[in-house]
Amino acid sequence: MAAVKLIGSPISPFVLRTMIALSLKKVEYELLPEKLGEKSELLLKSNPVYKKIPVLIHHDRPICESAVIVEYIDQVWPESGYGAILPADAYHRALHRFWTFYVDDKLFPSLVAIGKAETEEAKAEAVEQFRAGLRLLEEAFVKLSEGKAFFGGDQVGFLDVMLGCFVVWIEAMEEVLSLELLEEATMPALHGWVVSFRAHEAVKEVMPESGKVVEFFKMIRAMRMKAAADATN
């Protein structure tokens, strides 16, 4: 019986976060995907509060919430694989955590709003909001990376993981909606960061194929549009 199990699949950016962390640490685990539209007994038992993925189960004890899981992984396997994920000093840790709050509370909801927008106007507004958020992260990247490849400097760090999990979704939405979200012209540093992040061995191991994410996005969009059409009939 595997000591480490992870409920979820990498199509979910929040599950992907935890998989990137486990990959960076070279920790072996059993992946337990959920069926779309159904929640397993194990999930309901392991995460009774939110009933959501990801859930890490370590020695039969569940840990929930992706940011909490990544910090847990970093603490339990401090030196494994590529080493520490959280920065060494307290101030940089605070900055990585601050920007993670920003990504989760502001940036991600604006990305979702783009996908859900029903009018061109709503879409344009959501796109502008998302881009504004990315521009803030561009500035943050320049400060935190200090000329190196990642938010964590030479190493992939906490904020790299917490933001990097959305890269494949941003690209999928750009393709399906014919938009440019991560504009190379206004966000050159982030553009460079995406290349470095995608090229990292530990990230390549777990990153879902772009084609799969595009198909999934098209599918949930079609489902949502059908549900909206059915509701108005």
Partner: protein, 290 residues
Amino acid sequence: MIFPSTAHGSSSVGTRDASRDLFPCIECLRRRRCVSDNLTRGGVPIEFFHISVLLRPHKSPPHEPHPQEATMAEAVVLLDVWVSPFGQRCRIALAEKGVAYEYKEEDLSNKSPMLLQANPVHKKIPVLIHDGKPVCESLVIVQYIDEVWSDGAPILPADPYARAQARFWGDFVDKKIYECGTRLWKLKGEALQEAKKEFIEILKVLEAELGDRKYFGGDAFGYVDIALVPFFAWFYTYETCGGFSVEAEAPKLVAWGKRCMERESVSQTLYDPLKVYEFVGFLKKKYGVE
């Protein structure tokens, strides 16, 4: 009636004015050097947040350092607003660790240049400024305080699993209490009933998690307690607006709150629930809530 200006972003450390007139708190807030008598701000009606400053009940400044501590205190500054439960988390954490700091009361209707520079992304309090470096987001600040002043009693437990549980529940409090609580005083009718149902559910989840333990962390007062306890002073407001009794729905949680209030860090930080209720009364007027 004329009101003192707080345009100077007053500090209350070591500058407590001895006078006790109608508004002793304002005297506390005034800097010794501040001679501003610009009391009506050009005849413009006083903004709501000025009123919030006036409503601030008299209390000792959150921390009055010994004069010799003054230079160390200047190295740690907290930008805050008296009633903010998020700011209170930071004050409690600093007090638990015995950290000397300078408290600066912000006027949110007239944010100081220091605040705008320290938190350009959100322009919100609380902000902890340590040796000139700003830290934002209350739970990020609490973790930072725990890590920097590591010789005091730990706020987060050392064991990774216990730590993960603490972070999970701190995040739960963050996501649920304030948002749902705000709906209790802002909304009416069906929306209010919905919020009431949700809020009671949140209380029951927290009650179940606490169980028969002294604190959320067990025997030691810690992260989840700090994240939640400022809202203990808001329970009266929530139950009055929502039409229910927190004690009836979650008696263990109320007992826990009273235990926390036995700690100086908490009792010196939280304000009287009636004062919070009064403050929310002004918020309701501002938002046009009947």
